[in-house]
């Protein structure tokens, strides 16, 4: 972290010491680059995103490099992970016909989850998805697949026609076209990305506020009581975030599965 927060961490900036509360803000989501390639700086979130991808690749490679009929060791965990995504995310939306999308959905779910959960791991302690630039490429991939499958299965005209459900009276079509187009091409992908980003951004900010407040209030004065309260809230937010990190990965992947399902069907 930069600015006032690093000053707080390095020294005795506490309540009643003449030091104002170094409130966290947007600057806590900006990182100095480790090094630059041309005009592009390589920052901590980039490193964490690569690390998240490596964790997913290495874990599943190790789990299934020599799979046994009766699973043992890490293969057990790998199978539970895959079955979890299959039974809770893929099958409810796509049924058995969607099994070919299982590798994509498993990769997506665990990549997002690992990026989210980095918020709670000491030293790393930053959710990559709280930088929206890391979310849009995933939204783009999902939406590209959504459109591609829709056009492939229903044809370009049929796909556009099926955006409005059957049975709608003809004059209503005209009224609905601008709403449907805007919903489909702008607001649906927008909400898909912003929901993940917003939740992780807000969660990290809350965690930072209460952690910094605990340290700031810590002094041999009445501030000690407030510090204890702030610490309790920091623990509460930490526990809440363990749930939110999983939930956001689940929601993103579930919506991806429902989008794929609607592309494969004639009407959605």
């Amino acid at each position: 972290m930069t600015g006032d927060v690093s000053a707080l961490a390095s020294g005795g900036c506490h309540i009643f010491s003449g030091c104002g509360f170094p409130a966290p803000g947007l600057r806590d989501f900006e990182w100095k680059p480790f090094f630059t390639i041309g005009s592009v700086g390589f920052t901590k979130p980039m490193l964490l995103a690569i690390l998240a991808a490596l964790v997913v690749i290495v874990f599943f490679w190790v789990a299934f490099r020599s799979p046994k009929l009766v699973p043992r060791g890490i293969q057990n965990i790998g199978e539970v992970a895959i079955l979890g995504v299959r039974d809770q995310i893929l099958r409810p939306s796509l049924g058995r016909r969607g099994d070919s999308y299982l590798p994509f959905l498993v990769s997506l779910f665990f990549f997002i989850y690992i990026m989210n959960v980095m918020e709670l791991i000491p030293i790393l302690q930053f959710p990559v998805t709280s930088r929206i630039g890391f979310v849009w490429p995933m939204v783009f991939i999902v939406y590209f697949l959504y459109l591609y499958l829709g056009v492939k299965n229903q044809g370009a005209w049929g796909y556009l026609k099926n955006m409005i459900p059957p049975g709608v009276p003809a004059p209503i079509y005209v009224i609905l076209v601008p709403v449907e187009l805007l919903r489909f091409f702008v607001f649906q992908p927008f909400t898909l990305g912003v929901r993940l980003f917003g939740n992780m951004f807000a969660g990290h900010l809350l965690l930072t506020i209460f952690t910094i407040a605990t340290w700031y209030l810590l002094s041999l004065s009445v501030g000690l009581i407030y510090a204890a309260g702030s610490f309790a809230l920091a623990i509460f937010v930490f526990l809440l975030e363990t749930l939110v990190t999983l939930l956001q990965a689940f929601i993103f992947t579930t919506l991806t599965a429902t989008y794929i399902a609607s592309s494969l069907e004639a009407s959605h």
């Binding site: 699973p71 057990n76 199978e79 539970v80 895959i82 079955l83 039974d87 809770q88 995310i89 099958r91 409810p92 939306s93 049924g95 058995r96 459900p165 049975g167 709608v168 209503i172 009224i175 609905l176 601008p178 709403v179 449907e180 187009l181 805007l182 919903r183 702008v186 607001f187 649906q188 909400t191 898909l192 929901r195 929601i251 579930t254 919506l255 599965a257 429902t258």
Partner: protein, 99 residues
């Protein structure tokens, strides 16, 4: 690859139905939200364009309200009236187990 045993068919059906309901609920919830935003944005933009042409700025909020009304009407039609007519088909799907 199923490491947790086959389980009773009724229990599997119940779990499948619950998971289907969860996925459907998520999808419908966020689609409805997108409709509300899209309605306001689309007709707000149309209202703004017309208002700019005829120098009546109030057409922007009027357009947004009209768009909101259209969205709400369509949501009621699509997820209320239309969903109610297809309910038996959905229920039958939820009871089955496609494993």
């Amino acid at each position: 690859m199923n490491g947790r045993g086959d389980g009773a068919p009724a229990e599997i059906s119940r779990r499948t139905a619950a998971a289907q309901g969860r996925a459907e609920g998520l999808n419908v919830g966020w689609t409805v939200f997108s409709y509300l935003l899209a309605g306001m944005a689309a007709y707000g933009a149309i209202g703004w364009l017309i208002g700019r042409a005829v120098h009546v700025p109030v057409l922007l909020p009027v357009g947004m309200l009209v768009g909101l009304a259209i969205s709400i009407g369509f949501i009621i039609y699509r997820y209320g009236v239309q969903a109610a007519t297809t309910q038996p088909r959905t229920s039958a799907k939820a009871q089955g187990d496609d494993r």
